[in-house]
């Protein structure tokens, strides 16, 4: 694993056993044989329709759901951890290095805790500080980075607006000094006028503190503006992965193209030219054979129904899993 890669997953799978019976063998493949490298210091975007496995992949990399297949490693230069087998003190150590930003701390936390206590909790739970003074100093330092002042720290979360609550939740995630942050739909609940502010804050923190982000979002415009690399998921598989500009300028996978064209244009004179996808994402318990996208793909041929494409690495850093991508690219150019 090269030095500039923080997280590296190979063939990573997460399956959930479903059905009621104790001996039930039905398994829902939420993440299915995913290969993924997240470079140190990058702002890595993960997009895809609801149910495609984004949250599950993020949680697997945080060791918050069991990894059921393949491997995942974390290497920040100080420690090199095998996430698949991680347990005991090494897992405890990983908890302070890898953190999740809650979507809304107000919904997740006790309304009777002050903002100071909310931010301090991870320090106390993990025993990272030795005295109340040290905790307070650390909380104040992180709060200031998130533009929260002393007055804010004394108040209760219900007194805050959505943008302020999101800043509290960012401070809480940062307080243990993590290297790796998973931000799952962190701005989805915010109004547009506030959203830009939180995104700018996340970017600034990432640059100033040299952190690595996995940024999960269903909003492609937001991802385009904040991430330096984007991976696209469909039914548990990674179907395309590329530097942001490359991906948005020349998407290779038919699904990515369909996603892009579904974004409503801001131009009132540019109505209804979307390349419409028919149908919906199939149920993960009843996945189609071959390419999982073939039931909706306008370019599907017989081969797609029988044989599953693998993620190709054509050498230009733009990975894609589609039997016909080269051919389709030529057609588009022609």
């Amino acid at each position: 694993m090269s030095d500039d890669i923080l997280i590296s997953a190979r063939d990573l799978s997460v399956g959930f056993r479903i059905g009621s019976g104790f001996f039930s063998k039905a398994v829902l493949k939420a993440v299915d044989h995913v290969d993924l490298d997240i470079a140190k210091g990058s702002f890595f975007g993960l997009v895809g329709e609801s149910g495609s496995g984004k949250t599950t992949l993020g949680r697997a990399l945080l060791k918050a759901v069991p990894i059921t297949g393949g491997t995942a490693r974390y290497n920040d230069g100080e420690v090199d951890l095998d996430l698949t087998t991680l347990s005991g003190p090494a897992l405890k150590d990983y908890r302070k290095r890898a953190q999740l930003i809650f979507q809304d701390p107000y919904a997740a936390l006790s309304p009777r805790m002050t903002v100071r206590d909310i931010i301090a909790e991870p320090l106390e739970v993990m025993g990272l500080t030795k005295s109340r003074e040290e905790t307070d100093a650390r909380v104040r330092e992180i709060a200031a980075k998130c533009r929260l002042n002393l007055e804010h720290l004394r108040r209760f979360p219900h007194a805050f607006s959505g943008g302020q609550r999101q800043r509290i939740s960012i401070a809480r995630a940062l307080v243990s000094g993590p290297q790796f942050i998973v931000a799952d739909e962190s701005v989805a609940a915010l109004d547009v006028s506030i959203q830009a502010d939180v995104l700018n804050l996340l970017k600034q923190i990432q640059r100033d503190m040299g952190l690595t982000f996995l940024f999960i979002s269903h909003d492609l415009s937001v991802v385009a503006h904040t991430c330096d690399h984007v991976a696209v998921m469909y039914l548990g598989r990674l179907v395309e992965s590329a530097p942001t500009r490359t991906l948005f300028a020349a998407p290779r996978h038919p699904y990515t193209r369909a996603l892009f064209s579904a974004i409503p244009s801001l131009d009132p004179d540019d109505r209804g030219r979307a390349q419409k996808l028919i149908g919906e994402i199939p149920s993960p318990t009843n996945q189609p054979p071959g390419c999982k996208f073939h039931t909706r793909c306008p370019h599907a041929i017989d081969r797609c129904k029988a044989e599953e494409p693998v993620l190709e690495h054509p050498g230009d850093g733009h990975e894609v899993a589609c039997h016909r991508w080269r051919e389709l690219l030529d057609e588009m150019v022609a």
């Binding site: 609801s50 503006h225 904040t226 801001l266 919906e280």
Partner: protein
Amino acid sequence: MTALIEVENLTLKFRTDEGLITAVEDVSFSIAKGEVMGLVGESGSGKSVTAKALMHLNAKNAVYSPESRITLHTDSGPVDVLSLTTARDLKVVRGGAISMIFQEPMASFAPAITIGKQMVEQLQLHSDMSKARAREISIEMLDRVGISDPARRVDQYAFELSGGMRQRAMIAMALSTKPKLLIADEPTTALDVTIQAQVLDLMKDLVAEFHMGIVFITHDLGVIAQTADKVSVMYLGRLIEEGPVREVIRNPKHPYTQGLLAALPKLDDLEAPLTPVAGDIPSPLERPTGCVFHTRCPKFLGDICKTALPRDEKVDPNHRVACHIHSAEVMA
């Protein structure tokens, strides 16, 4: 164009433990037959409350000011919506001439009743058709909104359908009574973009076919650009700008509308920095004096914005804005 519904000086407060909360203040607009009005604004700006007022459907703690007036023009003459009280009279604005679809489709389907049974009941409530005919129409409508195998789906429960299908079923139910006005409150916000594109297409087709008026509530300006004829922008309960969709999106006049458009991440320019509207939305309990936007306005003019309420000014025959920059006093 003849007005379908007219809203005049709508002011609505809620009685709460913390005092009276102003949800909507002095809002006026009208919608013509076949016209789609997009209603945008941040959460809490009063969009849903305004929409529910059109059906006289707000919670019991709602207090309407005496000046508030909503007039629905029906074939049998004008109806004063806010004076309707009995369930029998309210039928015309609740499922009769006006129907509503919600962000969360589960909210409009009773969990223990099949979709078909609910659609049939709705149809029979608003007409004197037979049960068999009502079922026929229900199946037709489900087919019309693109639900495959409608004769089987009609006997399913809402929870058995996927999110996109549920949204289609709700649209089918809302349209089955052939309303003159459809209120769609964030109908695609909970959907994936791919499904949103399908539902928007469906709605566009249905508007063309049924020629009804629509209030389309959303916080997504892209969705507005794709669907609306005119746009009304709300902020803290006030309607601060209204105009034709092209005008408002290309040539916004209110500093808030301008800020909203600038804050939007745009796909055609990935280099452009994201520019938030500074500050936070004030709590409804701390309503700013003067112009409601003055605590965040980058074009703040000073005392006048803090003390005087800006009046509606016409910048074009169909484009109005409430901001002192555009009021005659300042220009003079």
